[in-house]
Symmetry: C2
Subunit: 341 residues, 2 copies
Amino acid sequence: MARIALDVMGGDLAPTATIAGALLALQELGPEHSIQLIGRADVVRAELDAQLAGAEPGVRAVAGRLTVVDAAEVIEMTDKPSVAIRGKPHSSMAVGLRLQAEGQSDAFVSAGNTGAQMAATTFILRLHEGLTRPAIGTLFPSARVPVVVLDSGANVDCSAAELVQFARLGAVYAEDVLGRPNPAIALLSVGEEAEKGNAAVKEAHRTLASASGLNFIGNVEGRDVPMGACDRGPVDVVVCDGFVGNVLLKFYESVPKLLFGLLARSGVSREQLAGALQGLDYASHGGAPLLGVKGVSIICHGKSSPVAIKNGILVGHRTAESRMSEHIGQRLAATAGEATA
Amino acid sequence: MARIALDVMGGDLAPTATIAGALLALQELGPEHSIQLIGRADVVRAELDAQLAGAEPGVRAVAGRLTVVDAAEVIEMTDKPSVAIRGKPHSSMAVGLRLQAEGQSDAFVSAGNTGAQMAATTFILRLHEGLTRPAIGTLFPSARVPVVVLDSGANVDCSAAELVQFARLGAVYAEDVLGRPNPAIALLSVGEEAEKGNAAVKEAHRTLASASGLNFIGNVEGRDVPMGACDRGPVDVVVCDGFVGNVLLKFYESVPKLLFGLLARSGVSREQLAGALQGLDYASHGGAPLLGVKGVSIICHGKSSPVAIKNGILVGHRTAESRMSEHIGQRLAATAGEATA
């Protein structure tokens, strides 16, 4: 039984896309699961009533598993992260995360201000012992199965010790949420050899090579990410700092746009192309968990459509049900004695 | 009149692809230009004779503009960079670059060991005053015109001052070799705002914002690179450290491979696809100049085909004829008094 808190006010298309996403998610989730709609109660109720008025009976039936939780304040996309902690204590983010901290919710999902969500999550849910930073684990579409890339934007400057922490976080994420036993963990670098990389990567490589409980397969290069594999076999998790991860993520996001241009000129139809590139659509992969916090906080893209919100909620559900956060805590405790870099 | 030295021994497909590329290049270059074939004279002559034996009269006619320069040693792909300087003083790289240092050649082109080429070039041609490192400027295909990304692999750890140097090097490259007056220079980061980025990027941004003689347009994000533009207009040069640049470059190189897989399943024909993705082919853009050295040293991909070698030679030709290196020296001297970060 999972109770998932959705930040109704977050995202460029809120509250329409968030409410629509919640209704879609409930139709996929079993009847024991519920969604808490967090936001200004008048706005939430008005949007919900409007969407239910013209809805099919099947949609109206799942609405009984929705509850509205009032949050008087709204965090804007332009607010600084600190606003989420001190400036607006009654924001939908703060209210949703506090519900979880108090044991009344199992996961938080938002398409709102990412910096604010990271700050509020870290402040309210707190980090697992042994961690200095949370990381965002994003799924990159690949020729094989999606690859977890972390950190994809929470930390622009990372120490070797933090890269090692990310490897441990990514491993549990891949196991619990993606269902990949013994996932292959790789370090992103400029060459396969252990001595290739910048200072932090080289140092992290040395630590990972002797780390226990991790299937560390060594360095991979940029080309291996879209392939989901390197010469030595499949890759499940790619570890990098948040600067590199964020640049790669945004680069990848704009590739379909480039291709539409290139292929349109060659006479390929838009339908063929749209079908082919569907696998590259971020929305089909849902949100990215903020890893390392004691709890579940799912970061969705600001431009999330109803389907993207629905998928974010499903990721929140899987993350909560698999008890990923608890497993991260256990894993970190078990390796607390090891050097981290 | 340009005399271009080609490392016949360098690259996975050498000497066949290198000799073939030289013959292709001469057919495109005016009759005043010549190519110096650097390598083991017996190997070079045998390969040249074999290719000329069955060639069209037009091809045999250009062979008069080839000269063979003997170099007894060969740098292997697995040799360490230092080998190029001390271990093998008679390598095709060392011989070709020394010809240029002695005023007997105008450009050097190689598809061989990149690390060795960077080391040998820096050692033999030397850096312009005011520089601490050379940078590789690579052309990334975009929806608009190709974008210069530098550094794309020469330096894995970069200071803010080095990023500022790269901006100056990239500007002259875009002007001279790509013919773009007043090129738009951007800094790659994780957000448009000046305060976004890692420590080196933020510091470089502050310096670039007040640098003279540069059309600095601020930060761009990963998504802007394949577009060749950002919200504020076109982008000609993207500055980043060599770790990020190399990861992006290799990532981009494998995107066509991924797409062949995705699109094949959707019924798009291989011919349509090959035509559409031709623009993403590195070979069509030729080699990447090692920027900052006093002279011309063009780095080609190790897997260079004859066409890629030909394009590398043409880049060497344009780089030499435009006097890019001289202009870099002048520009650096003119701004020597400015803070570099």
